[in-house]
């Protein structure tokens, strides 16, 4: 028997529902170290006003942002509004989100400390800090609610150490191959890195998409939205947007903040 589904089709009611807003790709840390929204659609981006300045590291999942300034770690919503913050030592941070976009973990390499987001704030996660030196940590990710994964560069190769959040002890280790750094693991499973021809997106099933590009000599990678990664030239204010959405993979220039 066919299930009965009824959509309210009152024209007046439906007409009242659609809402329009500027499309938002996400947030990024610009060349002036400000955290600002990126509006637009693929290929046509507009930078919004800065939400924070003096930003050392930043990432945005599509619904939440994590920002590291000189003195704080801040969680923000999609409008850039502060949800929570905590004091933090100077230095960069690595961030991880869960696959639903909610904040997961913050790793402060200067102090070798790991924090998890508990819904309204951050709390420290003890872990075996002898597993790898902080300088080897390229990034972190949240494969699931029970694990935090550290992306480690060791012996010329890339490894992923998965730790149990509850105990802080190692659970598994994966060798990802001789992958150029920097690299970024997303909650959706994609590994983003680069080779001599440009950007490589390695899917969860190990297939790879190559995006040809002439990339800067030194750059960093950070999630800037749902299905978007920002590639930032460390020597200039040039920024690229990498779209990692399956079937829509592409590389774009991002506009610079107009002088």
């Amino acid at each position: 028997m066919k299930p009965v589904v009824m959509i309210f089709m009152l024209a007046a009611a439906v007409c009242a529902q659609p809402a329009l807003a500027p499309p938002q790709v996400g947030f990024l840390r610009d060349g002036a170290n400000s955290f600002r929204p990126v509006f637009g659609i693929a290929g046509n981006f507009v930078l919004g006003g800065a939400a924070f300045s003096g930003v050392a590291s930043a990432a945005y999942s599509g619904s939440f942002g994590l920002v590291k300034t000189d003195t704080s770690v801040i969680a923000v919503d999609s409008l850039g509004k502060v949800l929570a913050s905590m004091d933090a030592p100077t230095g960069p941070a690595a961030f991880a989100f869960f696959s639903d976009g909610s904040p997961a973990f913050v790793y402060l390499s200067s102090a070798n400390l790991l924090f998890e987001w508990y819904g309204t704030g951050f709390q420290m996660v003890p872990f075996d800090c002898q597993l790898f030196p902080p300088s080897a940590v390229l990034g972190i990710s949240a494969p699931d609610r029970a694990h935090v994964a550290f992306l480690i560069e060791r012996n010329g190769g890339l490894r992923e150490f998965r730790l149990l959040v509850e105990s802080g002890q190692p659970d598994s280790q994966i060798f990802l191959g001789r992958v150029n750094t920097p690299a970024l693991r997303l909650a959706s499973g994609e590994l983003v890195y680069t080779d001599s021809n440009g950007v490589v997106i390695r899917k969860a099933d190990a297939t790879e998409i190559h995006l040809n590009a002439q990339l800067p000599a030194r750059f960093s990678l950070a999630q800037m939205g749902a299905g978007w990664v920002a590639l930032s030239d460390l020597g200039s204010s040039v920024r690229f947007a990498i779209r990692v959405t399956p079937g829509r993979e592409s590389l774009y220039f991002l506009p610079e903040v107009s002088q």
Partner: protein, 475 residues
């Protein structure tokens, strides 16, 4: 004679005699002069000038005491003779010039005395054509310089000369040669060239400097040399710009594209320079004055500096061969105008962005309790979206009743476009209250219409989701 010599020796300080040495100087090289020096040949009517140097090769000062020259056809250039006696420091020299102007075809000689050094100066009067530059009052004297003046690199100047036979017998010019970087010729004449008495023949020499520097060359007519001089200068940048072209990587205009622009010169630029490339956007949508998302993707939004490096056939933007720009989200015309640093317009091009049906970038369906959300992002470069239609399908692919649900969105889009800062781009969220088992609804097809057409997003999957719950906290 012996008495005279003894007297001269007695009058001069002894060191002066041994230290003085006479040389001829051709502008670059000194040649020591013995008791006889042949300064070359000249045609009757020409003057051949020779530079002499009296050099002190001793360790102490020497005195240039006396100078005399006696002989037909030879003459000291009085203005060139230093006031004597002249003290010459060790290693230094004094210079004077001698003109040789034969009046006939014959061998000439003269006696020149420099202090106690006697030198026989010889020269030959030879039959030859006289050489007269166009615009000159008379024939060239030997070693005379013909100045081509200032010529921009890449340009050229031609100087005409007239060969004439002033004698009573036929003569033949055996060779005419031009040498020196930037100088070429002769043009319009071949040798051997017989010239009858009273006859004249013209030819040209071209100066086309290859560098922005002084240039020197030589015109040789049957062994008689005439110096050629000229000054190459950097041409104004606009002089090389007739072949400038502004290239767009893609000439297919469409919204939300990242295009790039490069500037090519027809050949390597002989000079360096810079210009400013200005971008302007003229919307074709009524009531819309601009679209800020039409912009360069590096540097300033609508201005870029173009550098032209010497030797390069292309402009550069901050060291890069091209500059990227985004085409925005509004129909209209993007114009690029290049202006040189002195304000000279140097080129322009345009890219037309035609009106197009709505473009959807993302389309997603989300199943919630008692509700289905359909979200779209895209652009309408006509700002005229008017109709939306949603058709839901169940897991078997069958249309869910009531079928297509039309929604008139003309007014809300007009309100949105009138106030948004992101031009023709939009994010739309439509919520549909549902009764029944929403898990049975699998996809939705969305149609959206504007003044340029209708597009359809087919069978957009509807996913289940539990959105993250966060309690905002104030700090």
């Amino acid at each position: 004679m012996k008495t005279w010599l003894r007297l001269a020796v007695a009058l001069l300080p002894i060191p002066a005699m041994a230290q003085i040495q006479v040389f001829t100087f051709n502008g670059t090289t000194e040649t020591a002069v013995g008791s006889i020096v042949n300064i070359g040949s000249a045609t009757p009517g020409d003057t051949l000038e020779t530079r002499f140097r009296v050099r002190n090769q001793g360790a102490g000062p020497a005195t240039f005491q006396t100078l005399s020259l006696a002989g037909e056809g030879f003459q000291l250039v009085s203005a060139s003779v230093p006031s004597l006696p002249y003290i010459i420091a060790p290693g230094s020299f004094a210079e004077f010039r001698v003109d040789f102007a034969p009046t006939s075809v014959a061998t000439y000689s003269a006696f020149m005395a420099v202090n106690t050094t006697n030198i026989t100066v010889q020269g030959s009067g030879v039959a030859g054509a006289s050489v007269t530059p166009t615009g000159s009052q008379g024939p060239l004297a030997g070693s005379t310089a013909i100045d081509f003046g200032t010529v921009a690199v890449g340009s050229s100047k031609v100087q005409s000369f007239t060969l004439s036979n002033p004698g009573a017998a036929n003569l033949t010019v055996q060779a005419i040669a031009v040498s020196g970087a930037g100088f070429s010729g002769p043009i319009g004449v071949t040798t051997p060239l017989p010239i009858a008495p009273g006859q004249t023949v013209s030819f040209q020499v071209k100066f086309q400097p290859v560098t922005a520097q002084p240039a020197q060359g030589t015109l040789v007519v049957d062994g008689r040399s005439f110096n050629l001089t000229g000054l190459g200068i950097s041409p104004p940048l606009e002089a090389v710009l007739p072949s400038l072209a502004i290239h767009l990587a893609s000439t297919a205009g469409a919204s939300a594209q990242q295009n790039s622009l490069s500037i090519a010169l027809g050949s390597a630029s002989p000079v360096g320079g810079s210009g400013t490339l200005a971008m302007q956007f003229t919307p074709s949508v009524p009531g819309v004055t601009d679209d800020p998302s039409v912009q360069f993707l590096s540097g300033k939004a609508r201005l870029a500096t173009v550098n032209f490096n010497q030797g390069s056939a292309a402009g550069t933007f901050n060291g890069q061969p091209s500059i990227a720009f985004s085409t925005g989200a509004t129909a209209g015309t993007i114009s690029f105008a290049l202006t040189l640093e002195d304000g000279t317009p140097a080129g322009q091009t345009t890219l037309t962005i035609p009106p197009a049906a709505v473009t959807l970038d993302t389309a997603a369906g989300l199943r919630k309790a008692g509700e289905l959300d359909v979200s779209l992002t895209g652009l309408d470069n006509t700002y005229s979206a008017s109709e939306l239609s949603f058709t839901f399908y169940d897991t078997a692919g069958a249309t869910v009743q009531p079928g297509a649900i039309p929604v008139n969105v003309g007014s809300i889009f007009q309100q949105y476009f009138a106030s948004t800062q992101v031009s023709g781009m939009f994010a739309l969220l439509a919520k549909f209250p549902v009764t029944g088992d929403t898990t049975q609804i699998a996809s939705v097809t969305v149609q959206i219409t504007n003044s340029a057409g209708t597009i359809t997003a087919q069978q957009v999957p509807i996913a289940g989701s539990t959105p993250p719950q966060v309690v905002p906290t104030s700090y």
